[in-house]
């Protein structure tokens, strides 16, 4: 049996990768993907905690987190499409009309 530590480490590493991706990627779609990665990394944690505690709550939370992530992704994609129509670019460093 694999120790829970390894799952948690995997989760933390994936989460960090996702967060770093948000920080350094410039394509909005990729940023969105990185965020999905973060959320799914958390799901790994949740599932492993659930298994560790022998409790089902964590798994239920994963359901919710999955569907929420999906909904968020959909709205995000829709907005990115709208941006693309206006700007012909999804480079987030160029989307800075609103500032200061």
């Amino acid at each position: 049996m694999v120790e829970i530590d390894w799952y948690l480490a995997l989760s933390a590493i994936l989460f960090t990768i996702g967060a770093l991706g948000v920080l350094i990627r410039r394509n909005a779609v990729v940023v969105l993907m990185c965020i999905e990665l973060m959320l799914n990394a958390v799901n790994i944690s949740l599932v492993s905690f659930a298994s560790y505690h022998g409790d089902i709550t964590g798994q239920i939370l994963v359901f919710f987190s999955l569907s929420v992530a999906a909904a968020e992704a959909v709205v995000g994609l829709a907005i990115i499409i709208a941006i693309f129509r206006n700007n012909l670019s999804v480079d987030i460093t160029r989307i800075n009309l609103l500032r200061w």
């Binding site: 948000v22 505690h53 919710f64 709205v75 829709a78 609103l98 500032r99």
Partner: protein, 477 residues
């Protein structure tokens, strides 16, 4: 019938959710927007009536401890419903005038408010997460409402990316808390938790999620951009209802989940965040020319004042927070409403303060109302904003956080400058162009006047039922 009993305790949100479904069907069948609007108003009034009933009802938990009812939670539901109702009322004329009056807006607002109520009454981390996300997703959509203009899509993109990013932290925080305690219900968590690093890290990440939603510094960066790019009346919705819901959920978390755990000391953290928020919010607001953006920074500053009450961490402080939220809701919707009125007469970018020159005389009611709301936002007696500030600062002083209260008072003294600047333009500058103002619609006008009266009414302390409101709130603790 346990379910029905539970449903009864969750009735305001249920009404809004059901109304949202009907509204989206009406939109699908291309009903007249006026009808959808009227239907929304009716539903919200019903929800408001129910939430007022709940204010005086018993308290407890329902849906397997997922939600709380009565007390603070009921006040949260009430505040969200009140704010939503006023925002919807002022939205119609404005959205029509700027040509963005989509049928789906009202359904989105109703769904969003469902999420807010869910957030405000949550008694479980799962419910909290669901509430936050239901609210946020609807707000992302609303933020991108201005089509064809780049700023609309940009504000929505910023909101959705950063919002989802912060959701990641929030969820991670929930996961760690769950890992540390094996539970998500506040009461169980409170019972099982110890101050382990895992739990502390979870709490920290959970708080980060909250700080993002209430736009505390340094998690505030999205706020000005999103507020500026969103249609003004919906900005009011963002700034009041959603913020009130987040704050009340935070109050519930802090008062029900954290306090019984030994070794978890949040005062220091909240104090630092409050100070940062007040200072940065007020400082940047000072140099803004765009009134909407100025109000966005000012709303950051107000979040700082509210955090002062939370940092106090006493029942008195929580009472102050709830009262401040109430005050903030009515005066801020009012201020955004008047700005929306000026904006609808011209163009979407009419929010530059220089354009306001001499407008105070053009349609005096609106000028006076804006002045009232701004005075209240400054916190000058006898307006309601003063009492709100008074309660949170007094609570901080009583809790021994004198420095914090002093910084708060100094920061709000600095805020006088940028609020008054708007009034200076309204009344003491010659208009450089002749503007023809449209007469405001009756419903729009009278709802703003009502807000103005409330702002005054609840600010005049000894005579009117402010005390009873405070009394009601303080019974929760």
């Amino acid at each position: 019938m346990d379910y029905l009993y539970d449903l009864n305790t969750f009735l305001p949100a249920t009404i809004m959710a059901a109304a949202g479904l009907v509204a989206i069907l009406m939109a699908a069948y291309k009903a007249r927007i006026g009808n959808i609007f009227n239907f929304t108003i009716v539903a919200l009034v019903m929800a408001l009536a129910v939430s007022i009933r709940d204010l005086f009802g018993p308290d407890g938990t329902a849906f397997f401890d997922m939600i709380a009812y009565g007390g603070t939670a009921a006040f949260g539901a009430f505040l969200v419903t009140l704010g939503t109702l006023f925002c919807v009322v002022i939205s119609r004329d404005y959205l029509e005038a700027i040509d963005h009056h989509y049928r789906e807006v009202y359904a989105m607002i109703l769904f969003g408010s469902t999420g807010m109520v869910g957030l405000a009454v949550s008694n479980d981390l799962i419910m909290l997460f669901l509430g936050v996300e239901t609210m946020s997703i609807c707000l992302y959509v609303l933020a991108g409402l201005i089509k064809g203009e780049k700023i609309g899509a940009e504000s929505a993109l910023k909101y959705v990316l950063l919002g989802a990013f912060s959701t990641g932290f929030l969820l991670y925080g929930i996961a760690l808390i769950y890992g540390a305690t094996g539970a998500t219900s506040y009461a169980v968590v409170a019972g099982a938790a110890e101050a382990t690093p895992l739990f502390l890290a979870g709490t920290a990440l959970l708080l980060v999620g909250f700080f993002f939603k209430i736009s505390a510094v340094p998690f505030h960066m999205w706020t000005p951009d999103v507020y500026q790019g969103t249609p003004t009346t919906l900005t009011a919705y963002f700034a009041t209802a959603s913020k009130a819901a987040s704050f009340i959920a935070l109050v519930l978390v802090l008062s029900r989940m954290i306090p019984e755990i030994e070794g978890v000391e949040l005062t220091q953290l909240l104090q630092v965040i409050a100070i940062l928020t007040m200072i940065v919010g007020n400082l940047i607001a000072l140099v803004q020319d765009n009134v909407k953006r100025m109000l966005a920074y000012s709303s950051i500053a107000h979040a700082g004042y509210i955090l002062v009450g939370l940092a106090a961490g006493t029942p008195e402080g929580y009472t102050g927070v709830l009262y401040y939220l109430f005050a903030y809701t009515i005066m801020n919707i009012g201020a955004f409403g008047v700005i929306a009125y000026y904006e609808r007469n011209h163009a979407l970018d009419f929010t530059d303060v220089h354009n306001y020159a001499g407008l105070g005389y053009k349609f005096p009611v609106m000028g006076v109302l804006l002045s009232v709301f701004l005075f209240s936002l400054i916190g000058i007696p006898p307006f309601v904003g003063f009492l709100g500030k008074y309660y949170v600062f007094a609570a901080a002083v009583n809790a021994g956080l004198v420095t914090l209260a002093v910084i708060g008072v100094l920061a709000s003294a600095a805020s006088v400058f940028y609020y008054l600047r708007v009034m200076v333009y309204l009344y003491f500058r010659e208009p450089h162009k002749e503007y023809q103002l449209v007469r405001p619609g009756a419903l729009f006008k009278y709802s703003l006047i009502l807000l103005g009266i409330l702002t005054l009414w609840y600010g005049i302390e000894p005579i009117f039922p402010t005390d009873s409101l405070i009394e009601l709130i303080s019974t929760y603790y």
